[in-house]
Symmetry: C2
Subunit: 145 residues, 2 copies
């Protein structure tokens, strides 16, 4: 049995290539006895991103606060789409489906990610080493929390 308050855990920067303004709190992890799936709390700062990528394991996502942009690359440049998720939205990203996450210039996002423990990193395929370039107006004066 493990009980933890998210705010009591230190957050670590996400170290994936191209990740920007992204941090993770590992709420329930394999050392806790979770041997099939683990739960983490991600936070993306304004203009944050994790790069477009795919892998042969699935994500389950639940947005706690803010505005999370789920980026779904298209087969050709310019054909991708963006789905905006807010608090209370859940998303299932199947294995091998390309995806990335971004936040708008004036918002941040907190979201849970549940992923299987069985995640062979060699199959984690990045479509780009570059972070997303976020277009948009500069932050409103004094506006961010």
């Amino acid at each position: 049995m493990k009980v933890v308050h998210a705010e009591q855990l230190a957050s670590e920067p996400v170290r994936e290539p191209g990740a920007k303004g992204a941090s993770i709190r590992r709420l329930i992890d394999t050392p806790d006895g979770a041997d099939r799936f683990v739960m983490s709390l991600f936070e993306l700062a304004p203009k944050g991103s994790t790069p477009p990528h795919y892998h042969d394991w699935e994500h389950e996502i639940f947005v706690l606060s803010g505005k999370l942009q789920l980026e779904l690359p298209g087969e050709k440049p310019g054909t991708g789409r963006t789905i905006v998720l807010t608090a209370g939205d859940a998303a299932f990203i199947p294995r091998n489906e390309p995806h990335g996450f971004t936040t708008p210039p004036n918002d941040r996002a907190r979201f849970l990610v549940i992923a299987p423990t069985d995640r062979p990193p060699i199959r984690n395929v990045f479509l780009s080493d570059d972070p997303y370039e976020i277009e948009g107006q500069p932050p409103a004066k004094g506006g961010e929390r």
Copy 2:
């Protein structure tokens, strides 16, 4: 890919023996392609409960709002303990660890439960068919939503 807003989903009553004031929204389920673990949003009304039980699959829990009492039965009557969880708390309940959930008379709880898809129901062992008896003062007049 599936995206769903929790509030758009119908909630169903929890039908386990002894469950009281408990409802479930199946956010991500096997028909969505989730073949290893699934995510549900539970709501417990004031004085709600799910009975003490154990099973050979694990729970991962994240509390979204309200006050969730995690009931851990002891080996002898009267030796159990209660852990109060609030928004932002996560809990890992290992396989075969007896547990139940209750809410106080004046509060309700909303929480995510992630569970494996592989859940043989024949091994779901209830320690009692009776709901928890919640002691406490009656709800404040006109106070509940």
